[in-house]
């Protein structure tokens, strides 16, 4: 169920260049699943006006806390980054359909491929897959070393490969370079990141079961405004999907890329 709640800032840390880790406490944590997102009003003022959709990087139901990792780049996220311990943040959520963790059987292997600010939701996903006895392999792409994060956390959960466009950390190039050279064995893949990456993955693993998380400019965040629609591949059954309420995660091949 989607709720609106003033959540309390537990901590806010900068963990890489312009990348912030914000932990909030509140009741709506109890309803969260990996791959869902929250819609955040960064200030009480009219400027900026709209909410910001931000993914969920870590869920801690025992303590009613969740963590989001975001890039403070635009007007909204820069304001969000000024929040300090004890302050309240207006959160609407959890929203959307997340990653199906049950898609991989116990003892199976999942490939998690993330790009940039698409990496955070894969952390909670990996935690929950590992908790179910699924082995995870992580391939994480970033622009440069200074914007990489969570190496320790991902490495603790499974085999982790870093890729940077400039080669400053890990393999130079794109995630597909690692997939080519390492040729990992797996049952199901999950991904979140820029569209070209999602498209490349679909083409790379035509025979595999896979789930992709999409990003699109949003208005309401609950499916009412039709801002974030994507064309589907099956135009007969349903010609569009809404990223916010039908997604953000879709089975591979659903969205026309």
């Amino acid at each position: 169920m989607i709720r609106q709640e003033k959540m309390t800032v537990v901590s806010q840390k900068q963990i890489a260049t312009n990348i912030f880790e914000l932990t909030l406490r509140g009741e709506l944590v109890q309803d969260m699943t990996p791959g869902q997102f929250v819609h955040v009003k960064v200030s009480d003022s009219m400027e900026p006006l709209l909410r910001r959709p931000i993914s969920i990087a870590n869920i801690d139901k025992d303590n009613n806390e969740f963590t989001m990792i975001y890039r403070a780049e635009g007007r909204g996220t820069k304001v969000l980054a000024t929040n300090r311990e004890g302050q309240l943040v207006n959160v609407l959520g959890p929203i959307g359909n997340g990653f199906p963790v049950e898609a991989v059987k116990e003892g199976g292997t999942a490939l998690l491929v993330g790009g940039g600010i698409g990496v955070p939701p894969l952390h909670e996903l990996s935690k929950q897959l590992n908790a179910r006895g699924v082995k995870t392999i992580h391939v994480l792409g970033f622009q440069t070393e200074d914007v990489c994060f969570y190496e320790e956390q991902f490495s603790a959960l499974g085999e982790t490969h870093y890729v940077t466009v400039d080669g400053s950390k890990g393999t130079k190039g794109f995630v597909t370079n690692v997939l080519e050279s390492r040729a990992p064995e797996f049952d199901v893949f999950y991904s979140c990141g820029p569209l070209p990456m999602l498209k490349a993955l679909e083409g790379f693993y035509p025979e595999k079961e896979g789930y992709l998380s999409f990003e699109e400019r949003m208005g309401c965040g609950i499916g009412a405004c039709f801002a974030c629609v994507c064309k589907t591949t099956d135009q007969v059954a349903k010609d569009y999907v809404k990223v916010c309420s039908d997604g953000p995660v879709f089975p591979k091949g659903t969205v026309a890329l």
Partner: protein
Amino acid sequence: MSRLTIQLPGLDLKNPIMPASGCFGFGREYAQLYDLSKLGAIMIKATTVETRPGNPTPRVAETAAGMLNAIGLQNPGIEKVMNEELKFLEAYDVPIIANVAGTETADYVEVARRISTAPNVKALELNISCPNVKCGGIQFGTDPATARELVKAVKAASEVPVYVKLSPNVTNIVEIAQAVEAGGADGITMINTLIGMRLDERTGKPVIANGTGGLSGPAVKPVAIRMVYEVYKAVNIPIIGMGGVTEAQDVIDFMSAGASAVAVGTANFVDHFVCPTIIDELPAKLDALGVEHISEIIGRSHRS
């Protein structure tokens, strides 16, 4: 809550607050958040004869205290709207105002004829002001003679009162308001969005795929208030005012300028509970003004 009731042609409103068309879909999503029966009315998303896929994305862009949108009247078409969406809304005790759009007069007439037979559709809102579609929409709303003739045709076809949604993208909105009144309109809803554009900082190109979009949100409120104020003086049919409403004081402002009821648009995206919140806050506003019933404030800006 009898302090908030408002009677308008076709509409018996528990309170003067309703979500604006295009900002509330067909109510399903908000129904998960609160009881839609609390609302005065619901203005549903524009309906056309055929299914419309809408515009390419990006369809929205944020601006200072506002936003631009160019959704492009995406909707599933009259048949699905009647069989599925309006049926769903029958579960709630709330009158529906059906926003009607089309490419040519015959489309408007057909949608009006059919949708006005739905048991919960108590009024139509003729969309002659959508700035985001290439054909139909705004060109009907910028020429007084064209607007008048369209209203006449739709009035003849509709089973329920017809309100006309005016575009602010005109030189003289009073002229258009008088034309739709002459065409037989039962009421006016105003304003639709103001045509705007935002450029990408890096490329210098428009952010919205459509190029232009309709500006809404708190930024447009002064324009809307001015237009309601002017139109109120010039016509004898009721006005449902809208444009940047985010709190109870905005409702008081619109009604003071001459609106008999008020629609809330963009604010539904920011605070998803804004409509019920405003409804709850209105009685205290009336107390502060020393007013017993909300209808007493309609047009008070104009009283000597």
